[in-house]
């Protein structure tokens, strides 16, 4: 009973807090640009309104067009439940859970790309192609980063991998994972979530034809994914386990806030890169993770 309550509590935490992040990013961007900007809670209002709205379906789309966002959303929330939260641990932890996490991202990617291609639109095909292609490099970087954590701690369980004291490669790993975060969540400089030109978008162009509740699922899923990456990054770098629970929770929250503000600052100060330079940037992220891996292997204790 307690376990079920705990899972529900965690779920509520993830679901409720996630849409805060895009709001904070937008506020930071507005603040740097000297604008007032939308309220931090804007995404909550949008989601509530979308949930009430009707749906316009492309004449070509099949039920997979709606099932896609739903499955992607479930996969991302499931991945979030696997992730431990500092000393509170995770709702479900087993040896090899980190691989399930990575492959749940893949499920979400498969489903969004599938739903995008249901419409037969050239733009959405373009976006899906970009998404799955850049994900190849992002996945290589992510798995290398995870491997470095695993070699560092000698474990394949997220709870153990994220609770050990950090190694010398933490800075490299943080930089690499931050780049992966930007790429996987379609932020500048990889993608511009605010652009209005279909030709230059990745994620946004994929979900162009979605409306109503499915769009709400897509937007909320994206927010959960962003929070997930921010929490993963924070815990990969900060050893929270030694701290008392309350302090650990505050530290984790602060770290996530720092990452979020960092994303906002990057978005304000950088322009989106040309698409041909995206692979270069992702390769750099991969190399950063690779160096962290080498440090964990050769430079770590024993």
């Amino acid at each position: 009973m307690i376990a079920i309550l705990e899972i529900i509590l965690r779920l509520a935490l993830w679901l409720v807090l996630a849409p805060l992040l895009p709001g904070i990013i937008n506020k930071v961007k507005a603040w740097v640009a000297g604008r007032k900007g939308p309220p931090v809670l804007q995404l909550y209002y949008d989601l509530a309104r979308l949930w009430q709205k009707g749906v316009v379906l492309s004449t070509l789309a099949s039920p997979g067009f709606i099932a896609g966002p739903a499955v992607a959303w479930v996969a991302l929330v499931g991945a979030a439940l696997l992730l431990p939260l500092g000393p509170a641990g995770s709702a479900l932890s087993f040896r090899g859970d980190v691989l399930l996490l990575v492959y749940l991202f893949a499920v979400a990617r498969f489903c969004t790309a599938w739903a995008a291609l249901e419409t037969g639109s050239a733009f959405e095909g373009m976006g899906a192609a970009r998404e799955v292609s850049y994900a190849v490099l992002a996945e290589a970087a992510l798995i290398t980063g995870i491997l470095s954590l695993s070699v560092q701690t000698g474990s394949v369980t997220l709870a153990a991998m994220l609770s050990q004291p950090v190694g010398a490669g933490a800075v490299l790993l943080a930089a690499g994972l931050f780049a992966v975060l930007l790429a996987e969540n379609c932020r500048v400089p990889f993608d511009d979530p605010n652009t209005h030109l279909e030709l230059t978008m990745i994620h946004e162009v994929m979900v162009l034809d979605h409306s109503g509740p499915p769009l709400a699922a897509v937007l909320h899923g994206a927010a959960v994914k962003l929070l997930l990456f921010a929490v993963l990054l924070s815990q990969a770098v900060l050893p929270l386990n030694g701290l008392p629970p309350l302090l650990a929770a505050v530290t984790l929250g602060a770290a996530v806030l720092v990452v979020t503000v960092g994303v906002g600052l990057v978005e304000s100060l950088l322009a989106r890169f040309a698409f041909r330079r995206v692979p270069l940037l992702l390769t750099t992220a991969f190399l950063l993770c690779l160096f962290a891996l080498l440090l964990a292997w050769k430079g770590g204790a024993t």
Binding site: W51, G54, V55, L57, S58, T59, L60, S62, P63, G64, I66, A67, P69, A70, V71, W73, V74, A75, G78, L92, F94, R95, G96, L99, L100, Y103, A106, V107, R109, F110, A113, W114, L117, E118, T119, G120, S121, A122, G125, A128, A129, V132, S133, Y134, A135, V136, E139, A140, L142, I143, L147, S150, V151, V156, D209, G212, P213, A217, P279, W297
Partner: protein, 649 residues
């Protein structure tokens, strides 16, 4: 003795089918599928029970007494053979029926049973000479299956290539078995780990079996053969036949001592095969070629696991070696299930539209919902997405590799690149299968043929459903299948016998169940919500285009443009572009082709040089007697010179 009786019954059924098949299709189907089921029972008997089945007879074939053996490992592969063989036979009843293919259907049934029998023989035979005979029969019946549609030129070319390359491999195997027999003094096969001097023979086996398995760069026969064969043949070739090569490598890697470098080399070849195989797959615009190249990738994944197991043995039977072998073996089953499913799905598409060009298909999901759904399931499974079976085997492989890396020994040199290669190949596989399924089933039909497609009938749908069931079953309940895997692992290395199930497999099983339930619940809930809010159909948003046409859709080539470009150094794509010119442009075209790089850029030029040299030498033979006398005189003179020089002090 009971597995032996069952095997005898199965063999009788298949042989009777072989004899009667060309004329009696219904009886053939009954006999063949009954044979497959009985063989499956026999194999499961050995896998579930603890005893191997062995039968020695004084009866001599080609001067050697008959020796059959069904242990955990061969039973494991026999399960694959009987499942895919049975499913393909049922599928062929509608797909390659006598009405449509009056001249080749009978031949197809004959060759089908011949290849099933000879592959069963390869698995059972425990005598080097008989193994070679069965292997050769298997190769030749494979040829006859591939060239069923022999009036088409590319089919004949593919068949030739298969035959030539396959025999190059058999040559290596011939050397391997002869050297083995010469060393041990008998053709008997079995555990010979004590003979340390046999270790170098592993390289011969790797090359010989590697050709059949399709390890890069020995895979050259594979794409064209799989693409041009009828789809049920592609399914058994890809699902089972290439696994026979892997069976050989695994079998003799377990029975014989291996060189110290074997593990590292096999992992390396596996990683390269996986990455390049899927890169080639991603760039293909021919559906069946894409699937064939993806088989190359999966062979690479299995090779990574096998190489890791060899390393594990070398490092004192490290537990991660066991995990890697278990993952590799489970992937053999998994790949057999989802690749056969995908090839049968491709056959259904080909049957309905007459084309396997991705750029001529599209929008089939509406007219072929069954095929679309089953193909999508196979695509998700082969992309290793949870909660399906591909994820379970890759998860085991990852666990083993992560443990090997975390051991911080020298094995990390092999394990860490393998992890990265596996993840990258996995992401590319996802991209390839999003591309394949979307180009076929989603969007608007690109041609008339695609618009007027029809769903396949129950005989084709049934086998696909069964294979899809296997994908879901292994995915949701891997614990049920673990004892069989553990038995095969124990047969490979007795020190690893009785392997405990990795504890998280239970948890994983539960998580997979929960995920499957939640995916369905989530989809239903969102669909209901959308329905309740009101659904309205409208045109796809195409940047304000009032009349979007099907030709505006993204094509397979453009979809693969980005990631395909990263592999241009090996893919070497050829492009022919005709730009529209003038105020009233007549025609414009852009043709893009991905060549078989290894074949067209490596082996064919080398072959041409050899042919040219041969032609030059042939000029010496022209039929003029006086010149022949001159050669003779010159030869005698040179010989005399040599004798004279030798005689001098």
């Amino acid at each position: 003795m009971t597995p032996g009786v069952l095997l005898l019954i199965a063999a009788c059924g298949v042989i009777a089918g072989l004899v009667l098949g060309p004329w009696r299709p219904r009886l053939w189907l009954a006999l063949t599928s009954a044979g497959a089921i009985v063989a499956l029972v026999a194999a499961l008997w050995v896998l579930v029970g603890a005893t191997d089945w062995e039968w020695r007879s004084g009866f001599a074939v080609a001067g050697e007494p008959l020796h059959l053996r069904l242990d955990g490992l061969s039973a494991f592969f026999l399960v694959l053979l009987s499942v895919v063989g049975g499913a393909g036979a049922v599928y062929a009843r509608e797909y390659w029926a006598d009405q449509q293919h009056p001249d080749s259907a009978g031949r197809g049934r004959l060759a089908w049973n011949a290849i099933s029998l000879s592959m069963g023989g390869v698995l059972l035979i425990s005598n080097g000479l008989h193994f070679l005979i069965a292997w050769e029969l298997f190769a030749i019946s494979g040829y006859f299956l591939i060239v069923l549609e022999r009036q088409r030129r590319e089919v004949r070319t593919a068949g030739w290539l298969y035959l030539a390359v396959s025999h190059a491999g058999t040559l290596c195997l011939f050397a391997f078995f002869v050297a083995l027999a010469a060393r041990t003094g008998s053709w008997e096969l079995g555990p010979l780990r004590a003979h340390a001097e046999l270790a170098p023979l592993f390289w011969l086996a790797l090359a010989g079996f590697g050709v059949k398995a399709g390890l890069f760069p020995l895979h050259i026969w594979l794409p064209s053969a799989h693409a041009n064969a009828p789809s049920h043949v592609s399914a058994i070739m890809s699902g089972v036949a290439i696994k026979m090569g892997l069976y050989g490598i695994i079998r003799f890697g377990g029975w014989l001592p291996v060189p110290p470098a074997a593990g590292g080399v096999v992992i390396g070849i596996g990683a390269v095969t996986a990455l390049l195989g899927i890169a080639f797959a991603f760039a293909q615009n021919d559906l069946k070629r894409l699937l064939a190249y993806c088989s190359v990738e999966n062979v690479g994944i299995i090779a990574i696991g096998l190489g890791g197991a060899l390393l594990g043995v070398r490092h004192g039977d490290a537990p991660w070696g066991r995990l890697l072998l278990a993952g590799a073996l489970l992937h053999v089953w998994n790949h057999g299930a989802f690749k056969a499913l995908l090839f049968l799905g491709a056959g259904s598409v080909l049957h309905a539209t007459g084309t396997r060009e991705l750029s001529r298909l599209g929008g089939l999901a509406r007219v072929m919902p069954w095929t679309a759904g089953l193909f999508a399931l196979g695509a998700a499974a082969i992309s290793a997405l949870p909660p399906l079976n591909g994820f379970v085997s890759e998860w085991l492989l990852y666990l083993g590799l992560f443990d090997a890396a975390a051991s911080r020994s020298h094995t990390a040199w092999a394990a860490m690149p393998a992890v990265i290669a596996l993840a990258t190949a996995g992401a590319l596989a996802l991209a390839s299968f999003v591309k394949a399924s979307a180009m076929i089933f989603l969007g608007a039909p690109r041609t008339e043929a695609a618009a007027h497609a029809h769903e396949c009938g129950p005989w084709m749908r049934g086998p696909m459903l069964a294979l899809a069931g296997a994908c879901v079953g292994i995915g949701l309940a891997p614990c049920v299948f673990w004892p069989a895997v553990a038995r095969a692992v124990g047969a490979w290395n007795p020190a690893w016998a009785g392997a405990e199930m990795p504890a998280p497999l239970f948890t994983l099983s539960a998580v997979q169940f929960a995920l499957a339930g939640l995916f369905i619940a989530g989809g239903t809930w969102l669909w209901r919500r959308a329905r309740a809010n009101g659904l309205r159909r409208a045109l796809t948003w195409d940047c304000g285009y009032a009349r979007p046409t099907a030709r505006m859709q993204y094509t397979g080539g453009s979809f693969a443009g980005i990631a395909g470009g990263w592999f241009a150094w090996i893919l070497q794509p050829e492009r022919a572009l005709r730009r529209p010119r003038g105020p009233f442009p007549g025609r414009a075209s852009r043709i893009e082709r991905v060549p078989e790089t290894v074949l067209e850029r490596g082996i064919e030029p080398a072959g041409r040089v050899v042919m040219r040299a041969s032609a030059a030498v042939r000029r010496l033979q022209h039929g003029r007697l006086q010149f022949y006398i001159l050669y003779l005189a010159a030869g005698v003179a040179v010989l005399a010179m040599l004798v004279w020089l030798e005689g001098r002090p």
